[in-house]
Symmetry: C3
Subunit: 420 residues, 3 copies
């Protein structure tokens, strides 16, 4: 995942344009993504797909002709969606268009101006301090043209038509934790899941933030009823503890699944309630959809210093954190896939486990006792109204142990699956 | 409010009689109270409106002819609803009719005998100790006659017929926190509310405790369905922290409103569950009515030493406590008045705040971020099932901020009121 | 109770056979138990009533002919349901059939092999250590024959057909806390309850564990709807604090009754959630029945060292603990019997207690105030939807005080019973 991120790092992404296309095309080497294009000007709910923005070059030259701020060195130097400009101006005229971080003087901030016509440069505070009162040549060689909004889908058909949605955003330039980590995790998750049989169908979305999810939802308004669980993945490579942000519903199956997985892990983690800010969960969880979509991250956006700065780079994001995040996500989705509801075939009194070789005769070790206890819980609660996750929660036994017990009982025809 | 209390302080009130009439007549200088009279003997549910009790004079004279206990010095000296008597008797004969407070020897207790024929005097324990074994002349010049129970209403019509009830008791003689503080607060609250436009209609009741609310309810049995929220106000001037006592329902709108107001204030306060004792909430919250009527007070009745003694005087009750109580009550009622439920006009995905100038372009300060967050919460939860108070509770944002955000959104036609 | 236990102690009980018959016959001296027999081979749900097991004698003799392990000294020495055997064998051949407790070398363990054909001896670890490498004569003079499963019922008719079930197991040999304590408590509870008028009907079951309750349930499948509350009683004589284990429903009337009783007692106790292990509550609470059956015990099974060893003897179980357990059980069942729901005959406003002599006139002591408060709570909540237990829980007043208040009010025709 870290290698994939380093390959994608140099590309200048924004919410539209060639950077997005280059990114998706690169991902197609890993998974068979279907790329979609939606025309500029298309009305999507209260929004309009914007013109396509592309940028060739940008710089500020001093009066010696030196590029003292250079887009080619870092694509963060230009405020995303800046209008084109080529002009000479004094430092005073230039200053309102310059953004820096006085508290982190060696980092370049990341800024955007998607829906307001303007232009600007981001630079380190050290650079800003060195500017002398002279005339500067300012150039942003960008274009705004009718074009397309680009996004991609990967759909994996499972046993049932109901879907699990995994969504990540692809609209940030050279920022690692914020966008590349989610892209990498979703890509490798899709790879793994494509290689195994699945009960649920899966849909992986690689979309520009906000306008991307709004566009997708507008195009699939009648489809969303199929989404039974969903996960927005982003910010999954930093050193902070993992965080699960619940869906607006607050107690949907995926909310309970991730809470169970995190709690059972014994690792540091936090679970936070839904709030209408963050990433694309804002749209999936808007009241007219109210989808059961949670978010998986490590340190929440805006809560780490490197957020939206050049400090969010390939050093900040480390393989071991990506791996841990990946494992949690896979575990959570696996739980959902296995979370069946059964009906005990002997609902009146316990079945006789002994005659089926499922009960300790004389003796029995600690592990055997745990397995036996899990079987008794599954039998006792499999009244058609409790899923395996319900049973795991009530019995305080990890889901995996409960699921294994259910498999044994099912093989002995003591359980029958309830069709959802 | 304190001045009004000092004007009402000397009047000898009881559950019926001239004291009540004098009190209400004085209040009419402030608000246009409508005074009502109900005949003695009228059956009101399980109770009967009692005879009217009036008192001219009362004293105990020693054998020198000195008034050693004198009603004219304090109306607390006579047990309320005492039978008339004029007799000579020894100290031993007199003693069963004397009441004092050994633990607070300089205070006169307050006693009543509404529903049992008897007579008695209250005096300081110091006075009692000084009585020598001699003959005393005992006189209570009181009358019991068929007459009326007197109470008053002030009705303010609002946009809707549904009402907020504010109730206080007016049946205690020279006691300040217990009755005068509630009377003063209710009077000034009524004044303020009469000067502003209101969604709800308001009904202010000034009634004798217990028999007054029972009589009012008996006369308005079919009207009470209009009462959507109610508040019993009393004991609002002592130095203790404010207390809100919930209605029997426990989670009615007014319960949640006052809990929110108190919690958001950051000030010392307590919230207590309903119990069937206290003041007229006992009747409003009887099972056959079960009205959403809470109680606002400072230190609960019986929990302060001065309660029902001459210590509950104009020094015990201070203007700053009255003012704080008044502010909390006004805030709570204002919240109810503004607590609308809206439907977001863009329920599928967020509306584009930026194009309406409601979203930070580049930059944004802390206050702007809070306002923006409040707008996003209002939009996300305005699905027709969440009132602004629901949104304030869930988002942990003060109601006022939520309400302001809703007003902005409504002005931009992003919200529409749901008709209750 | 302790005397009864000491009389029953020597009998060698198992899940079938003469030991059970002897035990029930002894109990018939105290209560008129009806003994039932169900034929071996009878199918009861997923189980089959086993052959009857009886044992005359068993021993291990050393090569001198001494009985070094002797069933006549303790019936724990033989694994229950051991196959008959009479053979000579070396220590190595014998060892797989010997069970001891290395951690408690002076105690004999208790073992069973109900549903697997095998045989074995239990002995102290000291005995085991002394065995030398010689030839032993091993004899178990047991029989397996078609016969019966034996259990007993005692039914007490009350005012209503709905029943309270009390169940204890009778299948353990010389073990005191585990089986005899429950038998003794249930017997004396039945005695007491038979001497008083009861609203509920009562059914006391004395049954072998697991197979006994399964058999009873199979025979009474259509009857169980009458069981409104039930209690499994066992392990009630050890020195640990009392424990109530909730039914699978978790909030049934008996669950709330015992939680209230235990909490109000101010004594050390614990309340634990249902889990599908323990005693016959496993069957009563299987999903197809899901009866409101809780369990009363002191230290839970398996949580004390003496459990299933010869250490669980007449010294381990003490009269004072039995008595305390008995009192809690009687109190809990009494609460259920008295837990009526009433309708206040004055639902609109309080009735006038004063004119009925139920209200303090002038004065009043602390106890009077408590009784008055209980009356006000009963009146306020008797809207037909709150039982006396509901009222006790909400008011935090002990059930007994609430019940007394209700009786007074009922005698004054202020309350009427709601027919369930």
């Amino acid at each position: 995942m870290h290698r994939l991120m380093s390959e994608l790092f140099p590309i200048c992404r924004s919410i539209t344009g060639e950077g997005v296309r280059a990114t998706l095309s690169h991902l197609q080497r890993h998974i068979p993504l279907e790329v979609r294009e939606v025309e500029s000007g298309t009305q999507v709910f209260d929004w309009t797909v914007p013109k396509e923005w592309n940028i060739q070059d940008a710089y500020i030259k001093n009066n010696k002709g030196d590029r003292i701020v250079d887009f080619k060195k870092s694509n963060l130097h230009v405020v995303s969606y800046s209008q084109p400009i080529h002009a000479k101006m004094t430092l005073n005229e230039l200053k309102p268009h310059l953004f820096s971080l006085p508290d982190n003087p060696s980092w370049i901030p990341y800024r955007t101006s998607y829906y307001k016509e303007s232009w600007g440069f981001c630079l380190t505070h050290q650079q800003l301090m060195e500017l002398s009162d002279e005339e500067y040549e300012v150039c942003i060689d960008s274009t705004f043209e009718n074009g397309h909004l680009t996004f991609a889908e990967y759909y994996l058909e499972g046993d049932i038509q109901q879907e699990i949605l995994v969504s990540c955003h692809i609209c940030h330039p050279s920022l690692c934790n914020d966008n590349l980590s989610g892209i990498a995790l979703a890509t490798f998750l899709a790879k793994t899941i494509s290689l195994q049989p699945n009960r649920y169908s899966y849909r992986f979305l690689f979309i520009p933030g906000t306008i991307g999810s709004i566009t997708w939802l507008a195009l699939h308004e009648n489809h969303v009823a199929k989404i039974k669980n969903g996960l927005v993945v982003t910010g999954v490579g930093d050193p902070g503890a993992v965080t699960y942000k619940k869906s607006r519903q607050g107690d949907s199956e995926i909310d309970r699944a991730f809470m169970h997985i995190l709690k059972s892990s014994g690792k540091d983690h936090s679970t936070i309630d839904f709030f209408p800010y963050g990433y694309d969960e804002r749209q999936y969880c808007s009241p007219g959809f109210n989808l059961p979509v949670g978010s998986f991250m490590r340190t929440p956006h805006g809560k780490y210093e490197e957020y939206h700065t050049s400090g969010d780079n390939l050093d900040f994001v480390q393989p071991q954190y990506l791996e841990e995040s990946y494992n949690f996500c896979l575990q959570g989705l696996t739980l959902l896939d296995k979370n069946n509801t059964y009906l005990s075939q002997n609902s009146k009194c316990e079945p006789q486990l002994g005659k089926r070789g499922l009960y300790k005769a004389m003796g029995g070790d600690a592990d055997g006792a745990k397995r036996e206890m899990a079987m008794l819980w599954v039998l006792n609660l499999s009244d058609g109204h409790h899923s395996l996750l319900d049973i795991a929660e009530r019995s305080c036994i990890p889901f995996e142990v409960v699921h294994e017990a259910a498999e044994v009982l099912r093989n002995h025809e003591l359980l029958k699956e309830v069709n959802g």
